[in-house]
Structure formats: C-alpha cells, structure tokens
C-alpha cells in the first residue's frame, strides 16, 4: 500500500512518519506516533473525542487527512503536562471532578486549551460554545465548564455569560 513520508511538530518534538494514503490524522497519531490521547468515538465528526490542535486551531483528527499536517504543528493532551507538572486546565479538571469515564476528556481538554489560548478570560457562554463540538455522555458538562472557567481564572465572570 502506498505510503508517504510526512514531518510535523508533535507537542514540540519533530516527527517523521510514513502515512498510508488516505489515512486520517487520528490513526497516524495513535498507531504511527504512539500518542494514544486522541480517541476514536465516531469517525464522522460528531463526538469530538479525537480533538487535537493543528497549527493553533482545534481540529477533529478523524476528519483530517494526515498528510495535510505535513510541515505543520500538532498538539495533543500528551503535551499538556511538563513532566509531573500538570497544566492549569488539567489541575482544574481534577479538582472539579470534570471527568467520569474519561473518554471524552482528552478532546475536552484540547478544545479548552484552544479556547484559552485565544481567549484567556472567556465568559461561561464562550466556554459552552468552545466545547460544543465535544460530547460527554456521562453528562459531566457542568463540572467541565466550571473547571475551564477556574483554569482561566475568570471565576468572577462565571455568571456574567
């Protein structure tokens, strides 16, 4: 089967992998790179469990043709912590019990990371909008929203939205 070499920056590190033509980024990250943090939930852009950040924007890795990230930059949950030091978002997710089964959590974290990068002090409404592409079937949305607001340090603006 035809394979193509691609290079991209993955959580700050250079990666060079061969990808099968037509492969999606989710499969390449999981099987090719060994980054298991993005999850398969639907393969059709409905659930958001596979969300990663490509060149600064949140993207569904299952709907991203892998070779389109050639030369680009891909960030995932695997790059959020520095060693044992969790990111503010990860800390807030822990302290707010913002995960139940944990399967949507990686996608939620990446959508939230993308939001806070562009909008460090979002309103509650903006948080809801930012995670609207991520489904949580354990219905932990409230805890997730609170966690993101806390991580943003915008606790005072919570009710403003």
């Amino acid at each position: 089967m035809a394979q193509k070499p691609i290079r991209f920056t993955h959580n700050g590190a250079e990666r060079a992998v061969f990808v099968e033509e037509g492969a999606n980024l989710l499969d390449v990250l999981r099987r090719g790179v060994g980054d298991l943090t993005p999850k398969y939930g639907c393969g059709q852009g409905t659930c958001g469990a596979c969300t990663v950040i490509v060149d600064g924007a949140p993207r569904l890795s299952c709907l991203t043709l892998a070779e389109t990230v050639d030369g680009g930059r891909v960030d995932t949950v695997a790059g959020l912590a520095e060693g044992n030091r969790l990111s503010a978002l990860q800390e807030a997710f822990m302290s707010h019990f913002a995960a139940q089964c944990g399967y949507c959590t990686d996608g939620m974290l990446m959508s939230a990371t993308a939001l806070l990068k562009d909008n460090p002090r979002p309103t509650r409404e903006e948080v809801v909008e930012a995670i609207s592409g991520n489904l949580c079937r354990c219905t932990g949305y409230e805890a997730i929203i609170e966690a993101i607001l806390t991580a943003a340090g915008s606790g005072g603006a919570r009710r403003a939205g």
Binding site: N24, G48, P58, L63, E67, G133
Partner: protein, 266 residues
C-alpha cells in the same frame, strides 16, 4: 482498494487531475473524510490544492472575493465578511468551523448547507478554476448544469444590513438545522424590493421561497406583509421526513420561523 492522494500547487492543475470524473476534491474534509473513513467504494482518488489564493478574502470591484478554501472560522473572524459571521458561527462546532470551507458547503447535502443558503440569498457569483463566472443559482439548481469545474472563489456584495439569517435546531449550540432561513430584503424608500428568501432543509438543496418573496415584493415590512409571507412560506416545497423532523413538522414551522425572522428585523 488503495486510495491515492494527489496534491497540486494550483487549482488549474487540480482541475486537470479531476478530468475523467473518478477523483474527488478535498476541501476541509468534513464530508469527504467521513466517507473515506467508511471506505466508500466510490472514492479512489483524492485531489487537493495548496494554492494560498484559495484561502484569501479581499474586496474586489465592489464585491468581496472569498477564496473557495476559506474556512467558516476565517469567515466568522474577517472584517470584510462580518455580514456572514452569524451564519458561519452556527455551522458545526469550533473544530468543524476550523476545517469546513465555503466551497465545500456549496456541495454539502442537507441537513448541511447553511452557508450555501446564505450565499444563494445574497445572490453570490461563483467563479470556477477556468475563470468563468456564474450566478449561484446555476450551481444550486437541482438539475442544473452545475458542472462548471472546481470552484475557485465566491463573490458577494456586502448587503449593508439587508441580510438576515436564522437557523432552527434542536440542540444549541452546534445542533444541525431542521431548517434554516436566509433572507435578503433590500428596502430602498421603505418598500421591499426584489427580496430573496432561501430555505435550507425544505428539500435536498437550499431553495428560494418564490411565493414568500412574491408576498413581500413592493410592500413595507409590516405585520400584514409578514403574515402573508408566512402563509406562503412552505408553498412549493416537498420537505424530507428524517430523524430530525417530519415533513409535516417542517411545513408547519417554516412560516412560523420566517415570521419570527421578519418580525425581528427593525
């Protein structure tokens, strides 16, 4: 069957690679990648173009030129396309908007295609890879020629406050449209002149509501005119029965939502 992906620097080259009709063009991938993930047997060759011109938005000759590959997120952000931001912002979630393109939306089957409905209401012009221009109606016509090659850009005039849009969905934010309504209502001297009202979700493609337009032509936007347009809204439509809503429901609420949209206009 292995898939082949061909990448070209220009749209013209991509257009040549499309000859023969076997290849599919990759825009943002939100529709094509899903089919690919499902191993759709009709897809064997994928063509893409990296031409930066496809990502441009710029004023040109009194119109706004929107490159075919401009994403919903870019449309929602760009100053020159602020009138389209209310449409772009309600398409998909943030991840979809970061990928989905304006040209891709022109070919998206219902329940998608809200941007196509907006562009149809705005009377946009479609520019193809060979430089030809055609009114968007040509592309949207169910049995129309349509086959003008790859879309290079969409040109649209700033409606200067005369454009209105609403999307009806069960889930907010991010739910798909049961129906959406895009309306261009120029009112020089207070009277509606050549209105363009488009429904998405009332058929396989966005379609103009000719009877509702007729009901508004030449009238001021008052309660009587709105009521007349609402009564005529569903005329001539054969909406689908699907998991989102029944045909009956769509017919019943089409006029209700049109009336709400029109009533909300100051």
């Amino acid at each position: 069957m292995a898939v082949t992906v061909e990448t070209y620097a220009t749209l013209a080259e991509a257009q040549r690679a499309m000859a023969g009709g076997r290849a599919r063009f990759l825009g943002g991938g939100t529709i094509l990648m899903r089919a690919l993930n499902e191993a759709d047997p009709s897809i064997s060759t994928i063509v893409r173009a990296t031409d930066p011109a496809l990502r441009q938005i710029r004023p040109e000759g009194g119109e706004i030129m929107i490159g075919a590959g401009v994403t919903m997120a870019e449309l929602a952000r760009h100053r020159d396309t602020a009138f389209l931001a209310p449409v772009a912002r309600v398409i998909g979630g943030p991840q979809v908007r970061a990928a989905a393109t304006v040209a891709g939306n022109l070919f998206a089957a219902a329940p998608y295609g809200d941007m196509a409905a907006a562009l149809l209401a705005l009377g946009a012009t479609i520019e193809t890879a060979d430089g030809r221009r055609q009114p968007i109606e040509e592309l949207m016509r169910p049995s129309g020629s349509g086959a003008g090659g790859l879309v290079a850009a969409v040109r649209v005039a700033d409606p200067r406050g005369a454009f209105h849009f609403c999307k009806v969905s069960r889930v907010k934010p991010k739910g798909v449209s049961l129906i959406s309504i895009a309306a261009l209502l120029p009112r020089p001297g207070g009277r509606i002149e050549r209105p363009r009202i488009v429904f998405n979700g009332m058929g396989p493609r966005p379609v103009r509501a000719a009877e509702a337009e007729r009901a508004l032509e030449g009238r001021s936007l008052d309660a009587a005119a709105i009521a007349a347009a609402a009564r005529a809204a569903a005329e001539g439509f054969d909406p689908p029965d699907d998991a989102l809503a029944s045909a009956w429901y769509r017919r019943e609420v089409a006029g209700v939502h049109l009336a709400r949209l029109l009533t909300g206009i100051r």
